[in-house]
């Protein structure tokens, strides 16, 4: 329990609209950033240049056993890097670190320094062994984010990383030279249209915990209910955005509780009671129980979300499909996007393109055709 001031003083949440894109090679083949970058450029009007970002999986195969920390340091807080270095040296074995190379000619405003560290946990004897490596890393990341002013961890998973900042996505891509330097088997991307926040590099998306990343577009009318429930499980919002709530909910249900997306979609975008009533008994019991038990995690209001972690990428839209998502497939590639046009712009020859109904997840998994499950129920 943390001592609380009245909730009256908590900041209002941010409103925003966004564009999302995700592409995965289900054979695990790594590929460059052109598709993701061009797709985002195609959806330019969905952002206003105040936030763009990318998550890439299969990014650091040579360091795949180490947690890759992408950490940004504000230029006006010169002490932050030193503090973080000290903190990391204390709690981790840092096997390699470097500044993330950037394009000096890129047009972005006020960029922070972004550094990457490859680390493995170093436990002090007094800390015991109760925490799994993952939990250990989460705890340290939270420490940096909340206790060290001027430092913020973009991502902390293995063999993956997040690049993000203030600007249009293609500007961010240019700044970090994503098209030239990196390959991965999943790319997700996000552009942002905040209505009331000044741009802050840490506030851009994707939002990430360990190797989970969330890009999200939506306006949750249930935000207050969702946030309060998550607080009970130790998730305290610091950014006051819907995406943060969505990311924490994914973390709680999927990473911590190990529920598969097929179950989680029945919580975030729960079917109507009327539909549940008409299911066959076993499913009815399942959906009824999910909805009853996790009512506060129903994400009410328009949203589209693309979540990725190792070997898996999935997209989901709200239960009455107020923010549709388009899915498509071409060979081993599976695409998810806010707009069909952006997929066709980067992959003109598609085998399939479809619009899944509200609450029906599209799940792309390595070496499977699981994504086809949503096709049969497509609109």
């Amino acid at each position: 329990m943390r001592p609380q001031i009245s909730e009256r003083y908590l900041p209002e949440k941010d409103s925003q609209a966004c564009g999302l894109f995700g592409v995965m090679n289900t054979a695990g083949e790594r590929f460059g950033g052109e598709m993701a970058i061009n797709a985002m450029a195609n959806m330019k009007v969905r952002g206003n240049g105040l936030g763009g970002g990318f998550a890439i999986y299969g990014l650091y195969p040579e360091f795949r056993d180490y947690y890759a920390l992408h950490i940004m340091f504000e230029r006006h807080q010169p002490g932050a890097k030193e503090m973080v270095d000290e903190f990391l040296a204390d709690h981790f074995h840092v096997v390699y670190d470097e500044v993330i190379p950037t394009n000096k000619k890129a047009t972005v405003l006020n960029p922070p320094v972004v550094w990457r560290y490859f680390v493995s946990p170093r436990r002090h004897p007094e800390e015991g062994n109760n925490l799994s490596d993952d939990e250990f890393v989460v705890e340290k990341v939270m420490h940096i984010n909340t206790r060290i002013d001027g430092a913020y961890v973009f991502s902390s998973g293995k063999d993956m990383g997040v690049f993000k900042g203030v600007g249009f996505p293609e500007e961010i891509a240019d700044y970090f030279m994503l098209d030239r330097l990196y390959k991965g088997y999943i790319w997700t991307a996000h552009s942002r249209f905040p209505t009331n926040t000044p741009g802050w590099w840490g506030g851009a998306h994707p939002f990430s915990i360990l190797d989970w990343t969330v890009v999200h577009n939506g306006e949750l009318s249930s935000y207050g209910t969702n946030r309060r429930y998550l607080e009970m499980f130790g998730y305290y919002c610091t950014l006051y955005t819907d995406t943060e709530v969505m990311a924490y909910a994914v973390d709680l249900l999927m990473r911590r509780q190990g529920l598969p997306i097929e179950v989680v979609s029945g919580i975030f975008a729960a079917p109507m009671w009327d539909i549940i009533e008409h299911m066959e008994p076993e499913r009815r019991e399942l959906y009824k129980t999910l909805r009853m038990s996790y009512a506060p995690l129903l994400m009410n209001g328009p949203f589209t979300v693309i979540v990725a972690h190792h070997n898996e990428m999935f997209g989901l839209t709200d239960r009455i499909r107020l923010r549709p998502i388009t899915a498509a497939a071409a060979g081993d590639f599976v695409f998810l996007s806010s707009e069909e046009a952006s997929i066709r712009a980067v992959a003109p020859r598609l085998d399939l393109a479809w619009t899944p109904p509200g609450g029906e997840p599209v799940v792309a998994r390595l070496h499977t055709k699981d994504y086809l499950a949503s096709l049969t129920r497509a609109v």
Partner: protein, 504 residues
């Protein structure tokens, strides 16, 4: 002793309209109207008039007006007419002043200082006439986590779940016992709850046997300090079992149903001899601490095979948040909180008007405390007292309630005019009375229809308000203070409510 009391109401009869049909004379249980055969004239004596308006409504020619008596003492902000009258009443009787229904004093009504939100531009509002809009609510304890087993396409739940009871609208009827209210009124509530898919509450007077099979599944049965009518069959016939610790109208006070009201069927239902006083002690004499409460909760769970949620109802008092937390930890599945304006069949006026705190503040404090302790999901919260309209329901849910109890509002729907004379047993509307001449007036078919209409009307309005906020399921409003703003409240009040001021 010659009475110094002033009459409370003035009865005016327009002679140009009166046709001397004597309806008013028959309708009035207090003997206000009377017909003089010799003079062929209607007369009235306003001193016993309670202002229940029964005669006004039933006069076929609209000849009657009944309004507060204009006679006043010299106006005095401190020594009001009411204070003077009460003084004189006590000087004449030496007794405790009794009253009925809820606190009528001008304490701040927070509902009237909270305004709701609606969607504009950034997210769409939802039209409940075209899109589904869900009010179903499950009452009971929810698990911390749900364990599931996935094999292929099939997902099965392996956690053990606590019992939960669904209601189709988050509005339940408050505890009103058979004995305090008439059989007709009691049955009307049961019929309406069943028809609409919600719950009524038996209060502490038991559930008549003949009603158990038909209405048990819509009943919250109470186990109160007098333990009237409690046996295993009673407990097992219900949907929810409720331990009554306190009542908003009279926190810390027991109850007293005088022997003259304990007729045969009431005696049978309460399991006491006919004609004996039914006395409910102030405390439950086996609960002097939170551990004792826990023992009773588990005794009731044992008695019902862990198949029913157990609710604990308390009056909202100063440290209500800590008490509620203890109740949840003691094993309750539902916490019902009854605030300062809760109604009653009979209570000492001094208690009704001065003890307890407003439900809005109590509710917000309890919700917050349970969340801070990480146990909010372990119980449902039902808020009660002074819920007058659908907007109050919406605001209560946004402040953290799962559902609300309505008592006075339901009685008004059946005919009650809040005349506050329930304790006299002479309710002109046939509600709070055991006099067959009076209770016969209430036809359960019609009264239950009025109640169902009320629930339907409110539910429609709630759906409209939800849709406006861009929400299509009531659970997404629960505790969602982002949709509330305060108007005309002071800083400390906003702090307790956890709500921003309008424009903030």
């Amino acid at each position: 002793m010659f009475s110094h009391l002033l009459p409370e109401f003035l009865v005016e009869r327009r002679s140009d309209r009166c046709i001397k049909c004597r309806v008013c004379e028959r309708q009035c249980p207090n003997g206000v109207h009377h017909y003089d055969t010799e003079l062929d004239l209607m007369f009235s004596d306003e001193s016993p008039c309670v202002g229940c308006q029964r005669c006004v409504v039933f006069c076929p020619t609209n000849a009657l007006s009944v309004y507060p008596h204009p006679t006043t003492y010299r106006p005095n902000a401190s020594w009001t007419r009411e204070k003077l009258q009460d003084l004189k009443k006590q000087a004449e009787t030496g007794g405790v002043i009794l009253t009925g229904s809820g606190n009528d004093k001008p304490y701040r009504i927070y509902w009237d200082h909270l305004v709701l939100n609606a969607s504009q531009v950034t997210n769409p509002s939802i039209d409940p006439l075209r899109e589904p809009m869900e009010l179903r609510t499950y009452l009971g304890r929810k698990p911390d986590t749900l364990e599931v087993e996935v094999c292929g396409d099939r997902v099965s739940i392996t956690s053990r779940l606590s019992p939960n009871v669904p209601v189709e609208t988050p509005i339940l009827f408050s505890a009103m016992s058979y004995g305090a209210i008439s059989y007709q009124a009691f049955v009307s509530l049961a019929m309406a709850a069943k028809e609409f898919g919600t719950l009524f509450n038996t209060g502490e007077g038991g559930l008549p046997r003949e009603m158990r099979e038909k209405f048990g599944q819509n009943a919250v049965v109470q186990c109160a300090s007098g333990r009237f009518g409690v046996d295993p069959e009673y407990l097992n016939s219900a949907a929810v079992v409720e331990i009554k610790i306190g009542q908003g109208a009279k926190p810390g006070i027991g109850g007293h149903l005088p022997g003259e009201k304990v007729a045969a069927n009431i005696a049978l239902t309460r399991m006491i001899p006919e004609g004996t006083d039914a006395l409910s002690p102030a405390p439950q004499h086996d609960i002097y601490s939170i551990e004792d409460l826990s023992m009773l909760i588990y005794a009731l769970k044992e008695a019902t095979n862990y198949e029913k949620p157990v609710s604990v109802k308390i009056a909202a008092v100063h440290n209500v948040a800590a008490i509620a937390s203890g109740i949840v930890r003691a094993g309750a599945d539902i916490v019902a909180i009854d605030g300062l304006r809760g109604g009653t069949g009979a209570a000492p006026k001094a208690i009704r008007d001065n003890v307890g705190i407003p439900i809005e503040l109590a509710l917000a404090a309890v919700d917050r405390r349970l969340r801070e302790e990480g146990i909010r999901h372990k119980c449902s919260i039902i808020a009660a007292s002074g819920i007058r309209c659908s907007a109050d329901v919406v605001k209560a849910i946004a402040l953290g309630a799962d559902a609300v109890y309505i008592g006075s509002a339901a009685l008004v729907a059946m005919g009650c005019t809040l005349c506050q004379k329930c304790y006299t047993g002479k309710c002109a509307w046939g509600i709070c009375t055991q006099d067959p001449y009076l209770s016969r007036r209430l036809n359960p078919e019609i009264a239950s229809q009025r109640l169902v209409n009320l629930l339907r009307g409110w539910s429609h309005e709630i759906k409209e308000m939800l849709g406006g906020m861009g929400i299509n399921a009531i659970e997404s409003l629960r505790g969602n203070r982002e949709h509330l703003r305060g108007v005309g409240l002071e800083g400390w009040e906003l702090d307790v409510l956890g709500v921003k001021g309008a424009g903030e």
